[in-house]
């Protein structure tokens, strides 16, 4: 199992990361090294082992459905790259 240039481009697209064309071989090599490392898992028989998502096997806590946060829109939008009239601005999506 080895990732090629095309695979790296596909993964970068899924991850919404622009990668320079000339850097792709370097990333491919790094990713393949990591996948070779990870491959060691396949030598282990894990049939019947329950996957562990949380170290203490805890479950999500529920809280009463009540408003606990105050409106901080202005504070949060103050650090946004581009806002106007209380909304976040992005390039035109719909023609």
């Amino acid at each position: 199992m080895s990732l090629d240039k095309h695979d790296v481009e596909k993964i970068a697209h899924l991850a919404r990361l622009s990668i320079q064309e000339e850097d792709i071989p370097h990333y491919a090599q790094g990713l393949n090294n990591i996948l070779n490392l990870v491959e060691q898992m396949s030598a282990v028989d894990t049939s019947g082992i329950q996957p562990m998502a949380h170290p203490l096997d805890a479950h999500q806590r529920l809280r009463p459905d009540e408003v606990t946060e105050v409106d901080q829109r202005e504070a949060f939008q103050a650090i946004a790259p581009k806002t106007e009239a209380g909304v976040y601005l992005v390039p035109k999506v719909i023609e």
């Binding site: 990732l3 790296v8 993964i11 970068a12 697209h13 899924l14 991850a15 919404r16 990361l17 622009s18 990668i19 990333y27 790094g30 990713l31 090294n33 990591i34 996948l35 070779n36 490392l37 990870v38 491959e39 060691q40 898992m41 396949s42 282990v44 894990t46 082992i49 329950q50 996957p51 562990m52 998502a53 949380h54 170290p55 203490l56 805890a58 999500q60 806590r61 809280r63 901080q72 504070a75 949060f76 103050a78 650090i79 946004a80 790259p81 581009k82 976040y88 992005v90 390039p91 035109k92 999506v93």
Partner: protein
């Protein structure tokens, strides 16, 4: 003033021998003197610190202060600090002024502690040498040609050079313990869920845990008392009483059973580091502890498992950095896709991009079972090894890191070579257990840490075990000559 324990500083503040302003200024002066070379701090919050110190002095004068009131500390730049840049050492958050406080920051503030600044780290805590920081690498005060370890390398270097009396760090795969080992500190990664993750910028949410980095177990216990506790704002915070971690420091170690995993003393471990660690363990035997060889047979799976679980979680967590709501945004995006990809491509460094891509791949259609599910199954095997071991032993000991501090650039060519730095720490995160690193000696002038791993919520025992050793040894009091 910078060679005193928190307890001594506290007494001096309470009795009025020194003021918090004087103490804070002393540390700010040291930061001004040394930080240019060490690069331990990303942001020094001088004005804010002096204001906090003045407020602390007022409380102390009115006899309303707590034990840590007026004592300065350094926070890793992963903890959101309201009104202060919180960068996570990334270009992505270079201009990010946190709009709220992390619970850990809120707690140290309410204890009357003084924040000196925000310490350097590997970008988004991804690294073991502090070389992935957007703000440049941190130097190890013990040898400035060497790395301080990572990812909490800035906190570690600041502590080793005595630029702060105590500091915070976070540990996802060894990021408190490994730099503590490389910089001669006492660092504790508590049980997962012990300290709130709220406002601590998430890397791998099922592994991340904050903890103290200190000059002694006693100092670490003092800060643990402040940092620990249930927080409804963190959905994985554990609702469980917090003991007074200082109360049991002096308990006897008579009858303590120490497990020595044979996997921790084999291939990959520097023989000189092994010697230091074995000497420390013999000292424990002389102090009345019993030694028992144990096995953690799935130890070799820890690094492979981690490099699926952690990247998968990071690829999800870091998807929030989209160039829209906060963080770096590329110039003149031609459309929304261009905005996302270029903002993220420019904002993240190489190691972060690599891990996001591994995680994205592991979670993508057709690969989920082979990678993520398999890793979660391996994770259980690793955890069960520990549960079995703790039926027979009270604590487990071994090295914190396979080598002492290494030189800049030594492990940057191959990511996997760097990942091996964490072979003895990473399984503790996967299991969610508490672990410590304490100073145990030196190899060619570079510090070596002893790792002590405990059962769930056994932080008090770890601190006790560490403290007793520090009553009989002086490794933890050693300071590099240039910073005395």
């Amino acid at each position: 003033m910078h060679n005193k324990s928190l307890s001594e500083l506290s007494t001096a503040l309470q009795t009025g021998d020194i003021s918090s302003v004087e103490l804070t200024q002393h540390y700010l002066d040291r930061i001004n003197q040394y930080n240019g070379d060490l690069n331990a701090f990303i942001t020094v919050t001088e004005d804010r610190a002096l204001e906090q110190a003045k407020a602390a002095d007022k409380l102390l004068a009115e006899k309303k202060g707590g034990p840590l009131t007026g004592i300065p500390l350094a926070h890793k730049d992963i903890f959101c600090t309201k009104g202060v840049r919180t960068s996570c050492a990334s270009r992505m958050l270079d201009k990010f002024i946190a709009p709220y406080d992390a619970t850990v920051v809120e707690k140290t503030d309410s204890a009357g502690m003084v924040t000196l600044g925000k310490t350097n780290m590997d970008e988004f805590a991804m690294g073991s040498s502090n070389e992935t920081s957007f703000y440049g690498p941190v130097k190890n005060p013990w040898d400035t040609g060497c790395v301080p370890g990572g990812s909490s390398g800035g906190s570690a270097a600041a502590m080793a050079a005595r630029l702060a009396p105590v500091a915070t760090g976070t540990d996802t795969g060894g990021s408190i313990r490994q730099p503590s080992s490389l910089c001669n500190l006492t660092g504790l990664k508590p049980t997962y869920g012990r300290i709130s993750r709220y406002g601590m910028i998430a890397f791998a949410s099922s592994l991340d845990q904050a903890g103290p980095m200190a000059n002694s177990a006693e100092d670490a216990a003092w800060l643990m008392n402040i940092m620990s506790g249930f927080d409804p704002r963190d959905s994985t915070s554990v609702d469980r009483d917090v003991p007074d971690y200082t109360a049991t420091l002096n308990d006897s170690l008579e009858g303590l059973t120490i497990g020595l995993p044979k996997e921790y003393f084999g291939e990959g471990l520097d023989p000189q580091v092994a010697e230091v660690v074995e000497t420390a363990i013999k000292q424990y035997e002389a102090m009345g502890a019993k030694l028992k060889e144990i096995t953690l047979p799935n130890t070799h799976l820890a690094v492979p498992t981690y490099y699926v679980v952690a990247p998968a979680e990071c690829s999800s967590n870091l998807s929030r950095m989209d160039g829209v709501r906060f963080g770096h945004r590329a110039e003149d995006p031609k459309d929304l896709m261009d905005l996302y990809t270029r903002s993220r491509g420019e904002g993240f460094g190489e190691e972060v991009k690599r891990r996001i891509m591994i995680g994205t791949y592991a979670l993508s259609a057709g690969y989920y079972d082979a990678y993520y599910l398999k890793a979660q199954q391996c994770r259980r095997l690793i955890r069960d090894d520990f549960l079995k071991a703790y039926e027979e032993v009270d604590v487990i000991m071994g090295p914190s890191a396979p080598t002492p501090a290494f030189r800049f650039g030594e492990k940057t060519d191959d990511p996997v070579a760097m990942y091996m730095e964490d072979i003895y720490t990473i399984n503790v995160n996967l299991a969610g257990l508490p672990g410590m690193s304490i100073p145990a000696g030196f190899v060619n002038g570079l510090p070596v840490g002893l790792q002590i791993i405990g059962n769930y919520f056994d932080e008090a025992r770890l601190l006790n075990v560490a403290h007793q050793y520090q009553q009989q040894t002086d490794w933890h009091t050693r300071i590099p000559d240039a910073f005395k």
